[in-house]
């Protein structure tokens, strides 16, 4: 087993199935169970339905509900799981907004799988 603890669930929210698959390929060998959601609304619904989520990795720009709005709604609902943004965006204003909404990290795509797993190991509750 490399990295994380067996069975911890990580919610992966991205409208690109390729990115979700890449994340699954990075996290599964490290012992994490990956739950996929295809946009912010889907991510919010899955987070509300599963109290055992250890953390979430979330895109910013998505249809229906973006990642920052999803975090805001999760916090309003009382969900405290750590959330890291994974996006092509790097604007300081957006990073500040995400941090203010409760994000715990920001990764600019494309991601390095080893560094990502280290971040998940550190943040997953």
């Amino acid at each position: 087993m490399i990295g994380g603890l067996v069975g911890k669930k990580v919610l992966v929210v991205d409208d690109s199935v390729t990115i979700r698959q890449q994340l699954r390929m990075a996290l599964t060998p490290a012992g994490y169970e990956v739950i996929e959601a295809f946009d912010g609304e889907d991510g919010l619904a899955k987070a509300k339905a599963d109290p055992d989520l250890a953390m979430a990795i979330c895109d910013v720009n998505m249809p229906r509900m973006d990642g920052i709005e999803m975090i805001t709604k999760m916090r309003e609902y009382g969900l405290t799981l750590p959330i890291v943004m994974l996006t092509t965006e790097g604007q300081p204003g957006l990073i500040k907004r995400a941090k203010a909404a409760g994000a715990k990290g920001w990764i600019v795509k494309p991601f390095n799988a080893t560094l990502l797993v280290k971040a998940v190991d550190k943040l997953a509750i």
Partner: protein, 174 residues
Amino acid sequence: MLEVSQIIDKISVTVCEGMLPGDFQRAEGDLDEPEDGFVAVIGFSGDTMKGALGVTAPPYAVRATHPLAVDDESLTNDQLYDWLAELSNQLLGRIKGELMSYGVTLWLASPVVLRGVSVRIVPRPQESVHKYTFHGHSGDFCVWVDYQYSASLKLREVPEEEREHCTAGEMLLF
């Protein structure tokens, strides 16, 4: 001071070379127009610049750049459409990141993917379309950036110590 178009050309080529696999080499001029072509288009806008980035390639070339291409034949067309959309998003995201180093802020739209026969880019009269072609064993990739900018735009490199934005691959933990 470099011209805006020179800087965007340099950034675009560097970004494409960084993202496409090694067997895709920069080529001059127009290459093959694929009979069966995939196209991803993503728009952008900002205070001083607006336009769109497009990527055109045949399915085999898209397949060759897919990050999960462990078993090429297992990738469905839907997976290829998704990847081409993501590739265009990441290409433009990197260009946007580089332009932030010159003080330009852009906002990106969501990509759309099209599929067609004998797809080609038709330059508009004002020659705002800048094409960058890459030849690979599996087919040719064409990335094009169509942009207009305000006459007052002057690109000056922001000193490194004053840059606040994150670039591709960077990670911040709060």
